[in-house]
Subunit: 219 residues, 2 copies
């Protein structure tokens, strides 16, 4: 069963990379967990790094495709006009939370891993598969700019960085918070809505006053 072996390796790698990170996970860890032979990884994928890329591809690619499709739909409906900021944020975030929901009770390792990708991986390696994310980021940046015309492009970028940070951190640590913190138990859908609310108000906050204040406020 060749495909089964490949799948089991991918599943195990996903779990372990998510829990311990890429550098801290050895191929022996992976092959033990997957209950396959050590040599199987190199046979099927070529190298540990190639395995990581395969894992990422399997998980991140559909999410990013989904993000772009939702953005397309929103822009089509808006007919060239600005899209509602909250809808924009939801379109960006929902593809990740949807997959969390799909996993039901079990921990969303996929997302923890995707969260890690944003935060952990070394710059050079990151660049290899962040290409697709950069495309998504750029498309959304344009859309946000159109919906928030009073903001400078740089301000939009920074606020999007804040948004991505909230998302990545939530994906990485959200599950363990749910596990430990009694009163903070929430369904993925509720967390999504909480984050959408938080980010929508943050994104729509008034633009920073430049150096040239119209006199009155300062001093």
């Amino acid at each position: 069963m060749a495909t089964d072996t490949k799948q089991r390796i991918l599943d195990a790698a996903e779990r372990l990379f998510a829990d311990h990170g890429f550098p801290a996970t050895s191929m022996r860890d992976i092959t033990n967990e997957a209950d396959v032979n050590l040599a199987a990884v190199n046979y099927h994928f070529g190298s540990k790094e190639a395995l990581l890329i395969a894992v990422i591809e399997r998980t991140a690619a559909p999410i990013n495709r989904d993000r772009l499709e939702r953005l397309d739909a929103l822009e089509r409906d808006a007919g060239g006009g600005p899209v509602d900021v909250e809808a924009l944020i939801r379109a960006f975030l929902a593809p990740m939370f949807d997959r969390w929901s799909l996993w039901g009770k079990s921990e969303p390792k996929i997302l923890k891993l995707v969260g890690r990708i944003h935060a952990e991986v070394d710059q050079e390696l990151r660049a290899k598969f962040i290409r697709q994310f950069d495309t998504v980021f750029a498309r959304y940046a344009v859309a946000f700019q159109r919906s928030l015309p009073e903001l400078q492009a740089g301000d939009v970028h920074w606020r999007m960085l804040f948004l991505v940070g909230s998302m990545a951190h939530t994906m990485t640590w959200g599950a363990s918070i749910i596990a430990t913190d009694r009163g903070a138990r929430r369904e993925p859908g509720e967390i999504l809505e909480a984050l959408v609310r938080f980010a929508a108000d943050g994104m729509s906050a008034p633009a920073p006053q430049g150096v040239a204040v119209p006199a009155g406020g300062m001093r």
Copy 2:
């Protein structure tokens, strides 16, 4: 020069841990960078892990002390009443950004590392020095709850997670964005204010409607 050797090891470790992460950085990398002997690390610190803790202590401890002092001051001024949310957020964030400013033009490796700590480090290791952060988090959670009484405690926790995520991500990736993205160049103080604005509006967003809505809004 014994103390000099210790300092150089700490400086080099800080740089390398920040850039490549803890597991991916070898002691040989560190001692080469610091231009000291390989054995010096174990002589002065005992182990690689103990070195990481020493690095963290040197950087994170003052930041967290600062956070608590600012919170004390705010609560003293408020005389038992609720503290302004924006002031609360600024008190939490400013200690990190202040240190960024202190570094002037050079990259704030310290902060990138602190950002990584929140995102990368393995749960068990993390627990060792996150104690102090947990204290800070808990104190601020109480203060936020008092300032946002319409929110449930769990909602406050989640929003604080979003806030921490924005901060950590900004610390980890902010410098490289400044370096690459022309129009996004900002002073640390400006980024702080941008993040305060973003998070203050996010934190103060309306509470999520529970299941029992007073009829009228939905449908």
